[in-house]
Symmetry: C2
Subunit: 367 residues, 2 copies
């Protein structure tokens, strides 16, 4: 790797054989043209971003890219535009600009931009290179790492997509300065998730340092993002295409998706729903006899401290509605719902063997 080492930067690698790639985390990365260019080919570069992020960071990034043609496609902002129609626009733009197979796509933005740019890279001329430059906390610790790409379909979220790895993930922590508070807290949900599912020591650190994170202390953020990406990278390296262990990354997500679907994705940000879902999953892990009361309490307190919701939206009709939506989850295998639960803090497992009545009763208590 031909980049400057800065003492104030942290990095790690996602180990996937010939698809391995680095994650670099630090302040001021967007301005470091040497770093940015080290991950771009010598051919065309094409940035995909959205109308919110473009005015903030596009020019800065284009300067570092140093390509006079400054190719870019600016998407409207929002999950409702994460669909095949938007993909068609990206393809058309790539073709109009005569981008060849040697083009490198650059995803500048949050999860929606990253997922769509990655899917464009996976499918344009049967696959071109791309790098992730995530600008939201959620994208920095979750969606930009691991190669899940895709779009929504009227019949379901993320139903169309591919596993396709970026060439690098460049996380400039400075971009979090412009992130709205609610989105920032939503990102913290995924950070907490890593502590809960695979890193008890990190969870203890989060319990002690949540106020520093909420105040966006730069050093705390960099540490938390690095630790989160490390957990995710380890799980992804062990199971790239989610045939096994990777499912633990969905801790809290089956509950979250059900609430999101029931509320037509209008009520909560994804991270908020995940925060709520993790609370229910923690409680159910406890009531099912896997997790001690003390561990459940500690996990719940960290979630509360991040300012995440602890009750379902009022519009939810009842526990059965959530259960119904859980039944059509992607994690359903051979007709059986599988849940990610904790047997200890930092220790998650997947099971289809649980008490359905107890599950309903647990959900009931969070309505």
């Amino acid at each position: 790797m031909n980049i400057n080492t800065h003492e104030d930067r942290l990095s790690l690698s996602v180990d996937l054989g010939d698809r391995s790639y680095p994650i670099i985390i630090g302040a001021g990365l967007l301005d470091d043209s040497q770093l940015v260019q080290s991950y771009l080919g010598c051919e065309q570069k094409f940035v995909v971003t959205n109308e919110t992020v473009a005015p903030l960071y596009l020019q800065q990034l284009q300067q570092s890219i140093g390509d006079a043609s400054r190719l870019a496609h600016i998407l409207p902002d929002g999950e409702q535009f994460k669909n095949l129609a938007s993909m068609e626009q990206i393809y058309s733009e790539l073709l109009a600009k005569k981008c060849s197979r040697d083009v490198t796509l650059v995803a500048l933005g949050g999860g929606v931009v990253g997922d769509m740019t990655g899917f464009a890279a996976a499918t344009y001329q049967r696959g071109v290179s791309f790098i992730q430059v995530p600008t939201t906390l959620l994208a920095q610790v979750d969606s930009s790492v691991g190669g899940k790409t895709g779009v929504n379909h009227p019949g379901g979220k993320n139903m169309i997509g591919a596993f396709y790895q970026p060439r690098a993930v460049l996380i400039d922590t400075d971009t979090l300065a412009t992130l709205p508070g609610r989105e920032f807290r939503a990102g913290l949900a995924e950070v907490i998730k890593y502590g809960l599912i695979c890193d008890q020591e990190f969870l203890a650190w989060l319990a002690a340092n949540m106020s520093r994170l909420v105040q966006r202390d730069a050093a705390a953020l960099q540490f938390a993002i690095h630790r989160s990406c490390g957990c995710k990278a380890g799980v992804v390296a062990a199971d790239e295409t989610e045939s096994g262990i990777r499912a633990i990354l969905n801790f809290g997500h089956t509950f979250a998706h059900a609430v999101e679907t029931a509320t037509h994705y209008q009520q909560w940000l994804h991270g908020e729903a995940v925060g709520f879902g993790m609370l229910v999953a923690l409680d159910f892990s406890h009531r099912s006899g896997f997790l001690s009361a003390q561990d459940f309490q500690m996990g719940a307190e960290v979630i509360h401290a991040a300012g995440l919701p602890s009750k379902a939206p009022a519009s939810i009709e009842g526990a059965q509605q959530i259960l119904d939506f859980m039944a059509v989850d992607k994690k359903v295998k051979q007709g059986k719902l599988r849940l990610v639960l904790l047997r200890e803090l930092g220790g998650a497992f997947v099971t289809a063997d649980f008490d359905a009545d107890l599950l309903e009763k647990t959900i009931q208590d969070y309505l």
Copy 2:
């Protein structure tokens, strides 16, 4: 592999590590439920076919699949439906039928059906299994093997797609009985291609046996398909994603694509255009001093014997029009057109170093 071995069947393997898969070639495969089922999971099976092939073979295949739900999607027939709108319909149907990640898609038809089904498999819920059951000669020897999947875009053919390998390719030579003569001859173009680019012995066999092939002699067909798939499998195994040697499979195709584009894909079948393109490429290889007059003549005679066209469509305006369309080919690298040429029968190579005036003159002689 848990299948019956029939003496009258030929098989080979595409060696791609954990993505390796078998190709089985013989008569009556569609009726062999044990064989068919050995490549299907125990979950849902979903056949994609088209309105021409469905009345001929869908019921037969469904019987062998033995799945009472008989899920299928029937596309309209034609290259003009190979687009994202048709993909959207396949996705909708898969979701409507609640197909999970465990579904196996089955492509029953020609190249368009295979390319689209493969792309659906590559992108539905980030990738599900699929098998190829090609029913045209072209699909049997070319598009069903090698994992190229995708759709067209108004801006270019096959511009959206992925490399995604099937779990098996089942080639029932009986299906060729219903193939229209013109389509059959078009398929022969790709068969001849393998002789020209990598198998001199096979080319000699083709020179001696073309009349048997044209009469659809069963044994001759099975041999030719097996030999063709063997050549393709070897090249694909050496270069899955076309970063090098795989480009030789495009012998004749750069000329062919230019003619197809110039005539809006209305005039010739793809194989016919390839036959013509190979003729020009052979001649240009000879005039450039790579290929002997004798070898050029022998190659040209095999192409003629298959009944493939030897003059460009009358609507082509001139050599420059073909050259212009060649300049926007996917094989253009760093602004330079690269051609696949022969230095001997069975020996292809890729070069960007050729005499452009001589090329124009050569094309001129085929108008």
